[in-house]
């Protein structure tokens, strides 16, 4: 491997590693709470690993008020919310996949 190839490789794995480090544990917690989710994504909004946008579409939200929908997400993420891992959280929930 040439030096420039090595640089590219380590840069790629570094940036990929960082994003996954921050979002994967949250993704796993949500997956556990909403195993039937048809959409589930966690986005690191600032790249700083503490401002997140979470999108969940699940039948469990059907018929619930937005308050109760968001509370289910807060419940799923109670630990990272309490220990300060999540500094800011934006939530978008849907009961049914959009057309």
């Amino acid at each position: 491997m040439t030096e420039s190839e090595q640089d590219r490789d380590s840069a790629a794995s570094l940036s990929g590693y960082d994003a996954a480090m921050a979002t994967e544990p949250l993704q796993a917690l949500l997956q556990q709470a909403f195993p039937d989710a048809t959409e589930l994504s966690v986005l690191d909004r600032t790249g700083g690993g503490d401002h997140f946008q979470v999108n969940v579409t699940s039948e469990r939200f059907e018929g619930l008020s937005l308050i109760d929908q968001h509370k289910l997400v807060y419940d799923a993420l109670a630990t990272p919310l309490a220990d300060g891992t999540i500094h800011e959280l934006r939530i978008k929930t849907k009961g049914q996949p959009s057309e």
């Binding site: 807060y74 934006r90 939530i91």
Partner: protein, 122 residues
């Protein structure tokens, strides 16, 4: 019941619209607080803003009371409406104005402009 808790309860129940935020309307210390305030303003809501930053107990008591872990929190006539995401979503769909009209009457816009109330540590 702590003194602080009763202050918060009284505010929520007596004010038409209470916004618990980080900072003040003229200087919001957090993007989400700013978003909630902007959505309420756009709907013409008579907002009573409470800064929770001066004492960590403000936030602890509020969340213990409401069961909502994050700031901001918006209440209309004693009922928790939600945080920034929900208020923004309701504002975009027009449901926020309907909610305000239902709870406060059709002339809710005339009640008062944004005002600030301070909690006093017990």
């Amino acid at each position: 019941m702590s003194d602080l808790r009763s202050q918060i309860t009284e505010l929520i129940e007596s004010e038409p619209v209470t916004l618990f935020m980080k900072g003040t309307p003229s200087f919001a210390a957090c993007g989400n607080s700013q978003r909630a305030l902007a959505a309420l303003r756009a709907a013409g809501a008579p907002v009573t803003a409470v800064d929770i930053l001066p004492d960590p107990r403000f936030r602890q008591e509020l969340s213990a009371l409401s069961g909502w872990p994050t700031i901001p929190q918006v209440f209309v006539k004693g009922e928790l409406v939600g945080g920034a995401d929900i208020v923004e979503e309701l504002a975009e769909s027009g449901e926020l104005e309907r909610k305000l009209t239902d709870a406060l009457g059709p002339d809710y816009r005339d009640a008062h402009d944004v005002r600030v109330v301070e909690l006093s540590p017990a």
